[in-house]
Symmetry: C3
Subunit: 164 residues, 3 copies
Amino acid sequence: MSAFDIPTNESLKTPEQRIEELGIELPPAQVGVGDYEAWAITGNLLMTSGQLPWIDGDLKFKGKIGSDLSMEEGYEAFRLSALNAITQLKSALGELSRVKQIVRLEGTMGCAPGFIRQPEALNGASHIINQVFGKRGRHTRMIYSNNEMPLDCATLVVIFAEIE
Amino acid sequence: MSAFDIPTNESLKTPEQRIEELGIELPPAQVGVGDYEAWAITGNLLMTSGQLPWIDGDLKFKGKIGSDLSMEEGYEAFRLSALNAITQLKSALGELSRVKQIVRLEGTMGCAPGFIRQPEALNGASHIINQVFGKRGRHTRMIYSNNEMPLDCATLVVIFAEIE
Amino acid sequence: MSAFDIPTNESLKTPEQRIEELGIELPPAQVGVGDYEAWAITGNLLMTSGQLPWIDGDLKFKGKIGSDLSMEEGYEAFRLSALNAITQLKSALGELSRVKQIVRLEGTMGCAPGFIRQPEALNGASHIINQVFGKRGRHTRMIYSNNEMPLDCATLVVIFAEIE
């Protein structure tokens, strides 16, 4: 899976159609694990809270990448965290076509000692964002490698999006 | 302490009045520990630098949450870091009623091995923000769990606020 | 090196002229290490991705600050990461005089156990930003201390800049 999988004719399709073509479903919106909101809008900027790799209320990926989890599992965990973030964008906007540009991706991950392949793992989030949003998904990003993670989740993803 | 402690009739009260009702005082504004500013404004967005749990120039909470400090002490450390951030908002704005919405909270904490109750600890910041700002305090947030912390402080808090 | 090294008559000089006076050259723009963009603009806000301490495609500073690297080397690593971020600002803007204000600096660093002098190390980024941009360089900042780092780099820097 790579950036080259971005569908052609992308401008003709909505993000929801691309999600369907990819054969995936967005996970249901998850309630936060503390006293906060899942998203906020200020001006034309929409930002999410940190999204864990939930499916139907279960944390699918727990433990540290590089020991409990392989790099490939870390990739999948970031992909699922990103899908949860996309769910929150949809909750905020109704239609994902209201996203003008994904401007920032934050990825936090639990790292085992000696693990230094974070960029490959975070590509799990970057690739799905690029696939779903096409050119509008091209984003900056920052990686944070943590020694422990909330609820022992493998990954957290925040998205900042410019909206119309 | 919970979100349900948000005062009623909140729209009739200023954040400063709520702070007084809570029986607390904002800590004095603290000088940064490096060559930077405590806050900046761009457009309608006000952002603070990372705020340590200072009181009168003393770091009240040092060490790692989960070993040196209990979860409850981590909660208190985050509450104090958030109060220091609110002090910076007031320094920037004069009156906290100029805050239209707290849009983002960043919390960084020193975590002992095996500590995974970060969301409960960060609620120390979220709760006081919600109590002081009411509906205007409802925010997104992101947790970063760190193996070491600047000056061995327990917590750091950044706030992004939309202003009028 | 300190904030007091900010050149006088600063309003008469461009950031590029100050860089020349400092006797330094901006490193060449580095391709990202994953599927993302080096910078994005939303409204008047320009943000970079995390910048490693590259020179000509080589990671100059690897390892953890406080063990593999001294605090002074951490300072130099942050300075070089910040110069890479300034290169990205220039790639985005053409002329650095289009920067109205540096509003936020994020610094992530690999920390050895017991290392707590992060603020001094991050001054390596803050000082050069202040030297190059003068008053327009005065910024907020946040430190993240990580147990491991991507590709074992010592430091990562993100800059948010308000542009004209």
